[in-house]
Symmetry: C2
């Protein structure tokens, strides 16, 4: 399904608000349209180097193909015994989080009539490598905390713009996953 913006449609923040409203009305009539399944494949290459490919997904009641295949490489930096052939997994997680809060904020702002001109965020997460290494002493294996500083500019009061970010935070799927956790099942095929 292609997205084409027609002359009589309202577009704000690059989001087709008319199509968004239509989609919400359709989901309101048939909630199965809201069921999505996203997928990825990953192949180990060498050491800390591995590659994911992402293509189709399920949603809006059926399989959705893409014209593009997305390929992303992960590796570790030199001091973590990799060769810097890509960002590392915990850095990709920061990207997923920033991207999701941003997109969710922008879509809701579009629907709420708020024009956004700029959003920038800086993230950091701290961890103790002893967790990954299986050595005693770390509080946990993953990030102990993630801090995000966001700057937002647009055609609304600072309070309204901050509220737009908080709405993004509230509804963002990745923010929910990373702050609350989710069930992961790993099946090893023999």
């Amino acid at each position: 399904m292609k997205q084409m913006i027609q002359e009589n449609q309202e577009v704000r923040n690059g989001v087709n608000v008319t199509a968004l409203t239509d989609a919400m009305n359709a989901i309101d009539q048939d909630s199965t349209l809201a069921k999505f399944v996203f997928r990825s494949k990953n192949q180990w290459l060498d050491g800390g180097h591995n590659r994911s490919t992402i293509e189709g997904f399920y949603g809006v009641g059926g399989e959705q193909a893409r014209e593009t295949q997305f390929v992303m490489d992960a590796d570790e930096p030199m001091v973590l015994l990799g060769f810097d052939r890509g960002a590392n997994p915990v850095e990709y997680l920061l990207h997923a989080l920033a991207a999701c809060v941003t997109t969710t904020a922008v879509y809701h702002a579009a629907a709420n009539g708020i024009r956004i001109d700029e959003i920038e965020s800086r993230l950091e997460g701290n961890l103790d490598l002893r967790g990954l290494l299986g050595m005693p002493g770390a509080n946990r294996n993953g990030y102990e905390q993630i801090k995000i500083k966001m700057k937002v500019k647009g055609e609304a009061s600072p309070e309204k713009l901050e509220e737009a970010i908080r709405i993004g935070q509230k509804h963002s799927p990745v923010f929910d996953i990373v702050s609350n956790g989710t069930d992961i099942e790993i099946q090893v095929e023999k």
Copy 2:
């Protein structure tokens, strides 16, 4: 700090096991070397399109620069009102998870003397879009569950190879973050 593999060093699965053992011994003497801070910056571009850049980080007792800057674009597919200029945030999260479990498994297998020849994984996560849209009816905003199917081949029994994956799962930072959740603080600058 560059990683150079010397002739007398043991390398397994592409991991310099001698350097790994040296690093663990150094951390054992001085646990501050295990403190890492990873960072990313994200800039909103348009609609569901935004871009992260990743460069330096803190670790091994100091700031670590990289020769490379990693740039990654997120967008939404057409049916989610984007223009497919990149994988979407929840897909990046699947990549981060697969990459981390894989790398952690490979590093520990290297340290434990297990030769890995191949790891492939297929991931899927299901979510109800009503959460993101702020509509009632969804159990949550993020993935309800993530399923991972992993294939592993190497020079060990199927039981030992499955154990290698379980060790990866047990020590992986992203597995910990995504299964248990972590504290996120968002500060909006005015």
